[in-house]
Symmetry: C2
Subunit: 451 residues, 2 copies
């Protein structure tokens, strides 16, 4: 008789695990059942801001693989099914069919928790008003579309992090008046040091966004159930539409209730094989804690790229293979219009908080040879340990061709390089692609003189 | 009294060394004299094809720093001066003033040889005809301009390597009929494996270039001293203009004649501090051999980025500091119109020749999330050691955003990563910049399943 793998959550982590286990094991040996609350699988939530902005034309294109496609591969996907409890002693899950309301209990031999994360939603008065939303699902995107169709003109975005920036760009693109309200005194303040974030603020304002920094939201005013203003400590901001982009937290309650270990960062605790501390229970994706390779500490990073990798690692191990997840560096990228924004490792502030004696060095450079048309300016900040010169992190803000250079720095960081060694590396040079000293080398070279 | 540093050659290596030594040491302690044959210093020869193509508007913009600017920094630059001999016993150089013809002898305390490289120019009949040239100097570019002004319509480029490709693109851009004649059976055959080179050939032909592969040039026909055809084993090709792009070889004769060691690859032998085997004599740039980090063998790689780095390292050491050049990976990039072409490390053929049991795996990927507008296809070939999975090299051919991804692979190679570890790395992801599995990760992942 086949063993049974039950997977909770049919998005990136769950379906990657299912697909990998399916590739490695026949249906005769392993039955794979996936429970997914929504009616969709494997969709790119990270594409939603670009859908709202009109850059991406079709919601369907965000679906990497439909439930039907997964089923055709031999994965028993049950959408509109919510797992409400795990009994790790009995090796069962309790499931509710959201359409019929019926409950059932299913036995598992192996269980993978891929419950993802939920948007942070403070208990602000009025937050349930129509027109106040997060951008986490297709339904959210459809609701934005509906509000735009109904004549919404004034949008307020709460939070100037990744999603806040991307949604603000999208709504601006759609012709709305956009205000961004941020409690901290810079956009991207959680992920960039102040002198790098300043460039982002400049770009937002130059684009016509009313950026209100250091401004705490206190609630929402609604008339007839519909939002009319976002209330802040500095007064109300009129709004036909308010999008909350305050980040996410792991959906770890189901695991916690089952006695599965949840860590101080709020995610399910897993080892590098994606095993929880409970026998035959695995977890992957936005719901788990990962090891930060620079600090060695557990962190929660909700990003599709990790969810996919972790799902594949878990699927490999569940199917009897041997794979390990190498941890995260906190690498991330986004853009605001033509400004590319990227980071990896620790900011100067994070490095200090983690106990490093760190220096930060900002270098201005050009994406191409200075004489080549289209050369774009960029700023690179290198964070390195004083004395040893070990690279600890990097940030980039600049024009086209700037952002993805962060990958070189991430690779250097992964390998624990010093800035001196990094400065001497053999990177590709030709005038349309780089100055003779690539910005990364230039930045590392300057940092070398300061550590 | 000041010690005297004499530098032979005022381009990238020589002037980087001079500038670095000057930054570190006052004129009272170190006199720096640079002899340069031409009338220019620190110019970007790698920009010449783009000047010819009209992408770069002004020749002057290719000059990073003029002799006057160097002199203002306290470097005694003597242009139109050629060093004709080195006496390492006596610590002197013999110099000829090319304008007056006068010779002189100058003592040095330290000597840096930065004589660069010369274009390979086979002893073909007719090669001295007017209209047959290489593109190595400003005068060459001016001559191309003159020929175009005089009505040249048909251009033949001899050699389909980096410069051949770049010149062909430039002349096509200027409206000429362009034929490229290549002895080997693919463009970029020395630096790409066949299946990757095929994409380059396709792009060249699609652009309207008459690409003649496997065709050996035998000479040039001239009428009244002016070229009229390039003669090949397969017959003549009419030409108003013929540009030879067959690569370069180190200018090492001056060193060899002075008893300074020259290696089997044809370059001056230096250690990682850029010392030659002769006391107080250093060398840097296109004239030296560098250590290839994958094979450990000496290679000659003529590239401005190495010349700049080596010059800085030599300058640091000459000034009493301690710096080392870390070797090369053979990283390179170019483009043909919209097709970006890049490589690092060893091709599959080179790996086999170097004695590795290597596999090559080609992956097709997209530069952005599939649903994001402007996603460009690319091919990545990974070369890895069978068994260990150690990365040995990589090649990329693809659209915008493809080429510079080679730097991630170069950084991985520099750190001797395996393809399995590479596949798990934390690279930046957002839909406008990358699919959720970045092409580099995808390629490494596929290679992992094959090693």
């Amino acid at each position: 008789m086949a063993r049974r793998l039950v997977i909770i959550g049919g998005d990136a982590a769950g379906m990657s695990a299912a697909s990998q286990a399916r590739r490695m094991t026949s249906s005769e040996k392993l039955e794979i059942v996936v429970f997914e609350r929504s009616s969709r699988t494997s969709y790119a939530a990270c594409g939603l801001p670009y859908l709202v902005g009109g850059f991406v034309k079709s919601a369907d294109s965000l679906v990497a693989r439909t439930p039907e496609q997964h089923r055709a591969k031999g994965i028993d996907v049950r959408t509109r099914h919510e797992v409400t409890a795990i009994d790790a002693e009995a090796s069962t899950v309790t499931v509710r069919d959201l359409d019929t309301g019926r409950g059932s209990v299913l036995h598992y031999d192996e269980l993978l928790i891929g419950t993802g994360a939920a948007g942070i939603s403070p208990p602000w008065p009025g937050i349930d008003a129509q027109g106040v939303l997060q951008l986490r699902t297709f339904d959210d995107a459809a609701e934005v579309e509906r509000l735009l169709g109904a004549g919404a003109r004034r949008a307020v975005v709460v939070g100037a992090g990744y999603v806040g920036l991307e949604v603000a760009e999208g709504l601006l693109e759609r012709g709305l008046d956009v205000t961004v309200v941020e409690r901290l005194d810079a956009p991207m303040a959680a992920v960039l040091d102040a002198e790098m974030a300043a460039g982002v603020a400049d770009a937002m304002r130059a684009a016509g966004i009313d950026l209100r920094l250091g401004t705490a939201v206190t609630g929402f005013t609604a008339v007839g159930g519909r939002v009319t203003a976002v209330e802040t400590a500095a007064g109300p901001v009129p709004a036909d539409l308010a999008v909350i982009g305050l980040g996410v937290r792991p959906n770890a309650e189901l695991a916690r209730a089952a006695g599965i270990g949840v860590g101080e960062a709020g995610g399910i605790i897993v080892d590098d094989h994606l095993r929880t501390g409970t026998a035959h229970v695995w977890a992957a994706g936005d719901c788990v804690e990962s090891r930060h390779r620079v600090t060695g500490r557990p962190v929660v990073v909700a990003l599709g790229t990790h969810a996919n990798k972790q799902g594949r690692v878990a699927g490999t191990n569940i199917a009897g293979g041997d794979a390990a997840f190498g941890g995260v560096l906190g690498t991330a990228i986004t853009r605001f219009q033509d400004v590319e924004i990227a980071r990896t490792g620790l900011t100067e502030r994070e490095a200090a908080a983690a106990g490093f004696d760190a220096i930060g060095v900002v270098t201005e450079a050009s994406s191409r040879a200075h004489y080549y048309p289209g050369a774009q300016p960029m700023k690179i900040k290198i964070v390195a340990a004083r004395g040893s010169g070990r690279l600890l992190g990097a940030q980039i803000v600049g024009g086209a061709g700037a952002g993805k250079r962060i990958d070189v720095l991430a690779t250097a960081l992964w390998n624990e390089m010093t800035v001196a060694e990094l400065a001497g590396m053999d990177l590709a040079y030709a005038p349309p692609f780089s100055p003779v000293w690539d910005p990364v080398l230039l930045a590392a070279g300057k940092a070398t003189t300061r550590v």
